[in-house]
Every structure is written in C-alpha cells, then in structure tokens.
Symmetry: C2
Subunit: 318 residues, 2 copies
C-alpha cells in the first residue's frame, strides 16, 4: 500500500497491475458534437469499464496491492455508489471477502448489484455518522482493510490509469476534462497527465450545487460540502486530505456547471454518441456547452466517468 502521494511511476505500476483485470477502454468521437462546441472531442468510455465506471480502476489497484496477509482479512468500505460494486468485484477477483456498509435507503438495484458481485452488505441508518460508525464496527470485528472511495493513495493511483491510457492513445490532447466529487479521479488524472505531458491542461467540472472543490481551491483550504443538491449523484462528496493537495498544486481550473447544462449534455451523449452515461459523467461536456471556458479549436479529452443510471423511468410502461 502506498504511504505517500502517488508519483507518475506509481500510476504506471498501477496500470500494469490492473491490466489483467480492468478494461483498456475505447475512445469515441462524435462529429456533430465537435461542430456544436467548436473543438475536437475524444470521449474515453469509462462507462464501458468493469462495473460501468472508472471506480473499478482504483478499487482494483487497492485490492491487488494488498499483501497476502492483508488480503486474508478482507476489505470493507461504506458506499452506496459505484465504489461499492467496484470493491465487491475486485475482492471477488482476488477471492477475498468484501463488506460494504450501505445506507438502508440505498436503491434495491444497487444493493442487488453489490450482492451480485459477492459483496456482503451491512445496512445502516442513512446518515454519514451512522455509515462511519457501522464501518468502524465492521473493521474492528473483522480486521478488514478499509478502502476509502477516494481518500486513499492506491485508489488515487488506480484512477490515474485512465489518463495514462488516454494519452497513450491520443498523445496530442491539449486538455483533459474530468468531473470532480471527492477528487480521486481528478488527483489521479493530474499526476498522470501532467507527469506524461507537462503542457497539458487538466480542467475539473463540478456541479454548481456541490461546489466544494471550487470553493476549496479558491480558499486554499478544504471547505466541506454541506447539503449538496445536484442531479450528478456521483459527485456529492467533499474533497479529502489526500486529494486536495494534489488538486491545489496542479489543477488548471475548476469550473462549476449548472444541472441544466449537465442534463442537456447527458441527453446529447445519449442521442448523438449513442452512449449511456450517468449525469456525473456528463458534467464536463455540460461545462463546454455553457462556454465558461474557452477551448475553441483544441483537442479535448473527456473522461466519461460512468454509465450507471436508473432506467426505470424510460422503461416504466414496458
């Protein structure tokens, strides 16, 4: 396990480590969206990643990095989102138990997905305090290794592998745009992309209604998010003390995006690119639609972070 902030070399090693387990995801282009935003867009399809989101990279790297002795105790986390499924699958691949603390109000479909990957679910009250207490009890009893969704150096290194692949496939990108929630993907991307290509711009897109990264970056200290309100349900969390310093040091820009623009972008990705992406994955394109930053004529890489959406509304009458 990494004790200090990952370097480019750590991310390269993570990339080799997860290669047998994770997908090297494809990159898609879309002429009509290029015309619409006046730039050349490259979409890195992390919605095609295992469990449907980049989160598998970090969870997989963290699980594979454990010594056999550590691994024998199993892993644990609290999450109601993609990290829960990612950790459950990564643990199953290594043949070790994963305990996932989930709030009692988590959607049945998410619980079923975690259980489907062999994760053991421990239910708790739907508050952050209850989640943390319950997880602490689980870890105390089982001695399982706690794998935080983003505030963990091995997770950060794993998330950085997406940018590494991106620049290997498309070396002449001018910028990479990523959504930011807890900052795992952003900090990993920053270390990887700036390491490989110092001139590249890395720009974070954050929902207006969960703008703690923007405010923390401006203030120079972590300002936790209180009462986030956005359709981008993967980006509700606050930065951590392991992600913030990287972001503070390396990010070119953090731009907030309205939910309206995010939903417009999501619809465009479904309609034009024919990809199912979740709202969180559409925030960077939403940023381009709002024209809050000038990237005209540039080659822009967008990490489509995930594709896990509840489709019951669309298929309601079927």
């Amino acid at each position: 396990m990494l004790k200090t902030e990952p370097t480019l070399n750590d991310i390269r090693q993570s990339s080799a480590r997860i290669r047998p387990h994770a997908h090297w995801t494809p990159i898609l282009r879309c002429h009509s969206l290029d015309e619409m935003v006046g730039a050349t867009l490259f979409f890195k399809c992390e919605n095609f990643q295992k469990v449907g989101a980049f989160k598998f990279r970090g969870a997989c790297n963290a699980v594979v990095s454990l010594t056999d002795k550590e691994a024998s105790r199993g892993v644990a986390t609290h999450s109601s989102g993609n990290h829960a499924q990612a950790l459950a699958l990564a643990a199953r691949m290594r043949g070790i138990p994963a305990t996932i603390v989930m709030p009692s109000n988590a959607p049945e479909v998410k619980k079923a997905a975690v259980a489907g990957y062999g994760g053991e679910i421990v239910s708790c009250e739907p508050t952050l305090a209850a989640r943390e207490e319950t997880l602490a009890r689980v870890v105390e009893k089982s001695r399982a290794v706690m794998i935080h969704p983003y505030n963990n150096y091995d997770v950060i290194a794993g998330q950085g592998t997406a940018a590494l692949e991106f620049l290997e496939d498309i070396p002449d990108l001018d910028a990479i745009l990523v959504p930011v929630g807890g900052g795992g993907l952003l900090s990993g991307t920053l270390i990887a992309a700036k390491g490989v290509k110092p001139s590249i711009m890395v720009i974070a897109a954050e929902p207006e209604g969960a703008d703690d990264a923007y405010r923390s970056w401006k203030a120079g200290e972590i300002i936790p998010m209180v009462g986030p309100k956005t359709v981008a349900d993967g980006l509700l969390t606050s930065l951590g003390d392991k992600t913030f310093p990287v972001i503070q040091r390396l990010v070119d820009e953090i731009v907030t995006v309205s939910d309206e623009a995010t939903l417009k972008a999501m619809r465009l990705i479904w309609e034009r690119v024919k990809l199912v992406v979740e709202p969180s994955g559409a925030v960077p394109l939403g940023m381009l639609l709002e024209q809050k930053i000038d990237l005209c004529g540039k080659k822009i890489g967008i990490i489509l972070s995930g594709g896990n959406v509840d489709l019951s509304r669309f298929f309601a009458n079927t």
Copy 2:
C-alpha cells in the same frame, strides 16, 4: 447501378467504395450478457454508424455508385425512418439534392434530422398509397433517381458490408443474428457472410407483430404484412422481390420474437453494454432471451442495427 443480385464481390467493392464515407464500426463484448445467454456475444455497433444506423451503408453505396449524369438529377425516396436521414446525408456528401417524401405525421425530430442533413422534405398524407404517389410525382418532375430503402441491389450490397467487416474482425463467428424488416440488411448479410464463410449460420429475428418474413419464408412466397404492430418501428415493412429470393435461398432460420423480450433485451443493452440502441436493434438479443433457438456455447455476432430513439420520455422532467 447493379442490375442483378449482388455477389460477394459486389459487396467487397461496395465496402471499398463507402470506406471514405462510412464508419468501420467497433465490436463490443459484455461478460454479464454472455453469462446470461450461455454463449459468447459480439455486438457490431451500427448505432455508431453515420446517422446512427446501418442504413447509411446502403444509401451511401447507392449514391456513390451513380454515374455523374445520374447523380446530377439528384435522388429521392419516401421514408420516415433511418433511410431518410441516410439518403439525405449521402446525397449531401456527393453534393447533390435529395428529396424525401415524409408522412405529415412523422415526428418533428425526424423531419428536423433530415432537414439538418440538407434533405428537401415533401410532406404527404400518412398512407403508403399517398407516399408512393407523391414520390412518383416528385420523380417525374425532377427526374431524380429513386433509391428504395431496401428493394434495391446497391442498397442490399451496401448493407452487406457490415457482415464483411464483422467477419474480418472476428473470423471465427459461428452465427450472425440480424433483425429483419424489408430484408435489406438480412439479404446483404446472407450474401456476404455465406460468401466469406459458407459454414456460418445466419439467423433472422423478426417481431411477432410484423412476422411477414417468417410467414413468407414458410410459404415460399411473399406474404405482405398487413397492420403490423410492434415496438420495433424499424421493422414494419414487408419483404421485397429483390430481398426475398436471397432470404429464401440462404437463410438458416427466421425466428419471431415478442415485444416483451425485445424490450427486455433493449433495456439489458442499455444497462449492461451502456449502448443506446433502438428497439429494432434489440430484437436478435430478445430472440436469445426467449431461447427459441439453441446457440449455447457458440460465438454469436449480433448486428445492433441502430440507435435512434426518442428520449423525450426519459428526459421529460429535465
């Protein structure tokens, strides 16, 4: 223009002809669907094709095959579906006019798409008779070359290029599954796939509520569809006299599929493969879900024919 049924060689030539204009579409896999159906599935993503459907292949081949003299008169068709957009775009690429006869009740979004590709829309009453009469008037006046959506040898040859790419990328496929409406994709696939690999099975999937291909195949003569009723809105048409003989001679099986299975398949493709496909494109997977044919353990190629869906229900409150 081809005067007789295309051969494998004609399809090979079509493939070279459309290469500068059409996408060589990628093939995706999905582990969880493999497990579900007990076979190894390969999805050929024609939803990523230009205009979002395989129809561009046929329209493009037909338009590019015109002599300069023919082309100078422009092209025309009647269609409210993907062929309308495909022909409009192919014509624009060649710099010639396209006139598309569309029923007055065609969705605004489809009219807008055709107009967006530079097609001239002529509106008519929403009956087949009115469509054909209106088109005949257009053609008489403009001397435009009429490009039928499927009952046209150049169109059939163009549609066959998808199977050619499929077998070049995955030579050891045991079977290819395609949806059947008018039979353009099916007949092109049959000539291409059986030509390249005589041992391959080609199986057509048809909605129960538009089962004229199944009944025609059984009867040995074309039985036109009267009052089709299915969610697969791209498969309402009847076989033509240029597609039926190929199908009659070469198809291994035509299997009918319930709308229930098609919608279940469509949802699975959205949820698991993260691809937006239209109902017509999901019919072959629906066939596998219904287990009406035993392909257990086989390597199965599925042509995801298109991805043009009206998403307004999903995005209704946004």
